[in-house]
């Protein structure tokens, strides 16, 4: 019970906001239900219905991918917000709290768009694939009920989190942070439930020979469930950070005062920092997922990595490679505003070299479907020389070195304007250099050694390489924190004094992240080929074929463009909304700039 004389943290104003959210979701669900059952009773019964013009496949693909991207955004933003809010509470720096607040404000509108897209997807699925959806919803019945409960729960906590922001300051702050953590737990639960359906379609389990349910838990906890959960969770954080950084970049470029420029420069930096931080472990999560796919079905694994889909990994590699480039480019430009950071400029040539070589290696295909003439020219199905770089060993080596390079850019950036003064500074720095050198040595050693051992042994090596890199990063940071304690500052970071080019690097990262999500989404879904549920329930519609990569990338590109336009709309509309600060009218003036 809260003491009656103090203003309660949950005001009627907040409750009203929450209720509006609930009402919105309820109405949307009711409309979708009415639409589906109405149309289903008019349309002739069928296993598949055909949508004219677009065709079923594309008609479902577009809202599904857009829904997923928005979902990633609304799951990523609260993670991003809570982290920044906690930093703000710990450092007592007001600007972190403001930053977190600014992004949480986006949630209401973003939820609406996510929900509308979700309802569209649901309606299209039920109407176009009645038989298959009937099978899935029968199989997973308790989980979709749970999903609806979770959606309402998510709306309640998230809206309370937003509407309680201003009233839950000061002594209520820790409760507000707890609320933020709850939003994330709830969102994660939602993600996990939805992933169960998707991963079941990839790697079914828990059903008998006749596809009847044997164990719901086994169907949920199938081979790829956890790896996809983790992969998506990390990707969501990275994605939220990247979009936040892009937003800051727009505001930076449009800013008219130095003060604004300083603020949005800093915001862009925080966003990109969180994006890259979450991005670094992603390849590892990806390997885990890949391994589980191989374990589930060797054939699915092989056709994913070496079959027709191999070419898409080349596209993916070029996206990821350019992402690393952009991240490092941004950091290096950012060093321009850090007095003293020019000490590190000399390393940039070497780093570009590592990135470029790594990029080339990663983009080298292993086994591709070559024509007879091409094979004759190469003297086999693999290129005699380039083939060496196509194998996983070389790729692991490359990606580990690229990750380490990006990490080093960050560390140099961090140290830019500071000179350690602790008595053991020289020893500390030498130790750090040693650790990095050892990690590089281990990665290279196992990379080369891989060529001399059978593949079964080789797979184990990637673990050593990853551990070396992760270990080196951990030790480096562990030394760095005490090392920079009380360090002498050469000068304060001059926020806002960064080239506009750097902002385009931030856009680039956001666009490439979105493209990556679209592409990976297609690969994940596409490797089922002509199956609804891989190996179990065949897609017997006219859309069961696997389309050409050219068509697929065109559709992905279109989706990404639509997503970016939609999200820009969400930002613009939210900025225009009157920002009522809880029940405290005195604070409205503070928010003036949000409305601009």
């Amino acid at each position: 019970m809260i003491h009656p004389s103090s203003s309660p943290p949950v005001t009627p104003y907040a409750l009203k906001g929450v209720y509006k959210g609930i009402l919105k979701v309820s109405v949307m669900l009711a409309l979708t239900y009415a639409l589906i059952s109405g149309l289903a009773s008019i349309l002739p019964a069928a296993d598949y219905r055909e949508l004219p013009l677009l065709g079923n496949r594309v008609a479902v693909w577009i809202p599904a991918q857009l829904h997923l991207m928005f979902a990633a955004f609304v799951l990523g933003v609260p993670i991003f917000a809570v982290i920044t809010e906690i930093i703000g509470a710990v450092t007592k720096e007001r600007r972190y709290d403001e930053l977190a607040r600014e992004f949480t404000k986006l949630l209401a509108m973003a939820y609406t768009v996510t929900a509308v897209l979700g309802c569209m997807l649901l309606a299209l699925l039920v109407l176009l694939y009645p038989k298959f959806v009937g099978y899935m919803s029968e199989l997973f019945k308790p989980t979709w009920l749970l999903y609806i409960v979770l959606i309402f729960g998510e709306v309640i906590v998230a809206y309370l989190y937003w509407y309680g922001w201003d009233t839950m300051q000061g002594r209520y702050k820790k409760w507000h942070i707890a609320l933020g953590v709850l939003v994330n737990l709830w969102g994660t639960a939602l993600l996990f439930v939805a992933d169960a359906w998707v991963t079941f379609m990839m790697s079914p389990s828990g059903i008998d020979e006749a596809n009847h349910l044997v164990s719901l838990w086994d169907a949920v906890a199938n081979h790829t469930w956890m790896p996809i959960n983790i992969h998506r969770l990390l990707a969501n954080v990275a994605f939220g950070g990247a979009i936040a950084a892009a937003y800051a970049a727009v505001r930076f470029l449009n800013a008219s005062t130095d003060e604004e420029r300083a603020r949005f420069d800093w915001m862009g930096y925080v966003g990109s920092f969180i994006a890259i931080g979450a991005f670094i472990p992603l390849p590892f999560a990806g390997y885990w997922l890949g391994r589980e796919i191989y374990q589930f079905s060797e054939q699915m694994g092989v056709s994913m990595m070496g079959g027709s889909f191999a070419w898409l990994w080349i596209l993916q590699a070029s996206l990821i490679g350019s992402l690393f480039f952009a991240a490092n480019f941004y950091l290096w430009l950012g060093m321009g505003r850090i007095p003293g950071a020019n000490r590190y400029t000399k390393f940039q040539v070497l780093m570009i070299l590592v990135l470029a070589l790594g990029f080339l290696t990663w983009a080298t295909p292993r086994s591709i479907i070559a024509t007879g003439g091409e094979m004759a020219a190469m003297g086999g199905s693999h290129h005699p020389f380039l083939g060496l770089f196509g194998v996983m060993a070389a790729k692991n080596t490359a990606v580990n070195l690229m990750i380490l390079t990006t990490f080093m850019s960050f560390m140099m950036y961090r140290r830019g304007n500071r000179i350690p003064v602790v008595p053991w500074a020289t020893v500390g720095k030498a130790l750090q250099a040693l650790v990095v050198a050892v990690a590089v040595g281990i990665v290279l050693f196992y990379g080369v050694y891989s060529y001399f051992v059978p593949s079964l042994v080789r797979i184990g090596f990637s673990v050593y390489q990853v551990s070396a890199v992760l270990g080196a990063m951990a030790v480096f940071v562990a030394i760095d924190i005490p090392l920079l304690k009380g360090a002498r500052e050469i000068g304060a970071i001059q926020w806002g004094k960064i080239a506009p080019r750097a902002q385009y690097a931030l856009f680039f990262m956001a666009i490439v992240f979105t493209l990556l999500m679209g592409l990976m989404g297609y690969i994940r879904s596409g490797i089922r080929q002509y199956w609804h549920v891989y190996g179990r329930v065949a897609d017997e519609s006219a859309h069961a074929y696997t389309m050409s990569h050219g068509s697929a990338t065109l559709i992905v590109s279109g989706i990404v463009l639509v997503f970016l336009l939609l999200i820009a709309g969400v930002f613009a509309l939210t900025a225009r909304q009157k920002d009522k600060r809880g029940d405290a009218p005195a604070q409205v003036a503070l928010a003036g700039e949000d409305a601009r």
Binding site: I22, S37, H212, H549, S557
Partner: protein, 301 residues
């Protein structure tokens, strides 16, 4: 301001355009799902090998690892030589048995120099029936320049039917309406009437529908007329499901009644719960407002 936005838009279009262009540079091909084949005990040997070829290149997914011509993958042994090498592979196992075993249980004998990575052809995703496995063996034998030695037994065909497509309510309904007492389908049932596994290859689904409704429409060759009971008591939806099932066994598609809406009654019940929940929220809101007004009044007074 708008200049900046225009610049950003152009930049975005260029990046996305570059990606889309990159996607056009890689090889382009469309992959179609494999065609279904129906194998019976009477399928001609040459046809069998032809079916086998289709299976190897399509549904079996064998070419992901093997090659059956000059160019192809070499993760597994060259299939052109498989049948020729089969007699000497596993001591004490005849060539045909070895080939069948290498498809059914690839792990039972692993060829020297290769990892034990091959998935069993009878398991998903290939999920071949024994008849299909034998067709593949026939193809391998022809590929090596020999003659197919396999014979399809009735029990091989049995699993062929079980292996197709999604679960069929139609099969269950054939139990319910006792068709199984007189007909065998997918290897089960009586012999008073003709085998129905392949009936849909001979007749169109619509014809089958009228036959089941009214058996006197026509009479199958070699069987007595007037034995099969009139099916007008069978619910319309069930008739369609049964025909859809028979059609699917022949690789044809026939839309049954369609799925019953997954949202039928649960949807309404759920809606009711949501409505009550909404009213509850509204009540809490009203009470909170009231409380606030009362408090506001008290502090002012």
């Amino acid at each position: 301001m708008s200049r900046t936005l225009a610049k950003i838009l152009v930049f975005t279009l260029v990046v996305i355009g570059a990606f889309a262009y990159l996607g056009q540079l890689v090889p382009q091909f469309v992959e179609h799902p494999p065609q279904k084949v129906v194998i019976t005990t009477t399928t001609d040997k040459a046809d069998l090998a032809e079916f086998g070829k289709k299976l190897v290149r399509g549904k079996g997914g064998c070419l992901v690892c093997h090659k059956d011509q000059e160019t192809g993958n070499e993760r597994g042994p060259d299939l052109r030589k498989a049948a020729a090498q089969a007699p000497s592979r596993k001591p004490g196992t005849a060539a045909e048995d070895y080939l069948i075993e290498s498809l059914k249980e690839p792990g039972a004998f692993v060829v020297d120099g290769y990892p034990n990575m091959m998935p069993a052809a009878v398991k998903p995703p290939a999920k071949m029936s024994m008849a299909e496995v034998k067709a593949v063996v026939a193809y391998l034998q022809v590929l090596a320049g020999g003659e197919p030695s396999v014979t399809i037994l009735p029990e091989d065909v049995a699993t062929a039917a079980a292996a197709t497509g999604p679960v069929h309510r139609g099969r269950a309904l054939m139990d319910t309406h006792a068709c199984i007492a007189c007909h065998s389908v997918a290897g089960e049932g009586g012999a008073i009437g003709p085998e129905l596994t392949t009936v849909a290859t001979r007749h169109e689904p619509a014809t089958l529908l009228s036959k089941i409704r009214q058996p006197s429409t026509w009479t199958a060759e070699g069987f007595p007329a007037g034995v099969m009971p009139v099916g007008d008591a069978i619910p319309e939806g069930d008739l369609h499901e049964i025909v859809a099932y028979l059609a699917s066994l022949a690789g044809k598609s026939y839309s049954a009644t369609g799925a019953t809406s997954p949202w039928s009654h649960e949807g309404l019940r759920l809606g009711l719960v949501i409505l009550i929940f909404n009213l509850g929220m509204l009540l809490v809101l009203v009470l909170a407002r009231r409380g606030e007004r009362a408090r506001g009044g008290a502090s002012h007074g």
